[in-house]
Symmetry: C2
Subunit: 200 residues, 2 copies
Amino acid sequence: MPTDARTTTRVRAADELKHAALEQFSTVGFAGTSLQHIADEAGYAKSSVLYHFASKEALLEAAIEPAVAGFEDVLEIFLAGRGGRRDARRHELVDRVVDLLLEHREAVHVFLTQGQSLAELPIIARANVAVRRLAAAVCEERESVDDQVRFGIALGGAAFLLTAGRTFADEATMPTDDELRDALRRIIADILTPAPTPSN
Amino acid sequence: MPTDARTTTRVRAADELKHAALEQFSTVGFAGTSLQHIADEAGYAKSSVLYHFASKEALLEAAIEPAVAGFEDVLEIFLAGRGGRRDARRHELVDRVVDLLLEHREAVHVFLTQGQSLAELPIIARANVAVRRLAAAVCEERESVDDQVRFGIALGGAAFLLTAGRTFADEATMPTDDELRDALRRIIADILTPAPTPSN
DNA sequence: ACGCTAATTGACCGATCGGTCAGAGACTGC
DNA sequence: GCAGTCTCTGACCGATCGGTCAATTAGCGT
């Protein structure tokens, strides 16, 4: 059993590597990222990356697993919940998903935009299942084209905004995360509710 | 001056390569795509790719330039237009952008999601400028956080839906492009119009 | 039939890829 | 002080990367 000092050292190195890896995976893609570059960014040698993680795929899994687990948790909470009206439950779901997006924005961007090409990796397959179940839960029995489009735009759009969107943000007008959280909660709930006639 | 047969042959080869390249660039990313794989997909040798295009970067430029030019055109039409109310002009802009997204979905996905990491390439820099100008045009003088978020979600979400979104689409429920066009026009216009009070 | 050019290809180049391995320091418990 | 373990590293491996080049094939006008 390792000592505290050892544990923190090991954990810190692994965390630094995961963080550097996520940044690269979400901007240049998994296939386009080299272990050498990740190591350089984090201040280690390439061999050190493969000491802490068995392979490039294992590093990806370790980096995005918390985000995938978060989606699964949020989904189960929503599916298990019986109390409250449908509106309230859905608002809760949106709030939780927005929190997830803000906390794990890079990881979510990775498995949303590369879920196709990396589908053979178990962790990505898990993420794809979670996203599909989330879509089914949000659209419920209504499976019209509009509902699918609204869900896809809301989820993909939020993920885009929080990562790639920074490319197009004006110089000093970058909103804080709290401003973003507030805006995203309102706007996404708005998008998923198809402009109901006010008396509905 | 080449003959018709020669021209069509040359054009067809270049088009096949551009099409194969776009599919790879939009799914695994520019850095993660190899010329060898592009050549294999299109049925040519790697040397042939570099015969038709001076470099990997030149291939990217040739593949996405029409999409970038389309954005620039749509933007200028919108900025030059004086007639009609603001609503009508904005609806026209949305319709044209949706058409662009449907026609050039892969190219748009490329420069939206990789505009950060490829910013040093001239064609990508051009695309980034066009997107920024489009954002400014849509939000006009109103530069609230909400407006920026709505624009980012609408554009990024639509691009996501049309490419990566297929990963999560249910088996046989894939809508046709015409259904998508119709839904996108209505929903995006809806998203960009911040839930006006009905009597407004 | 001939020469010319466009189109395509395989062989090859240096660099970099993901991954292996033996060993060098650093720190632990004894 | 010493053995043991954890962390980290450079040297090295076969494969693949983007790119060059000379040679081959095919089709054109004359």
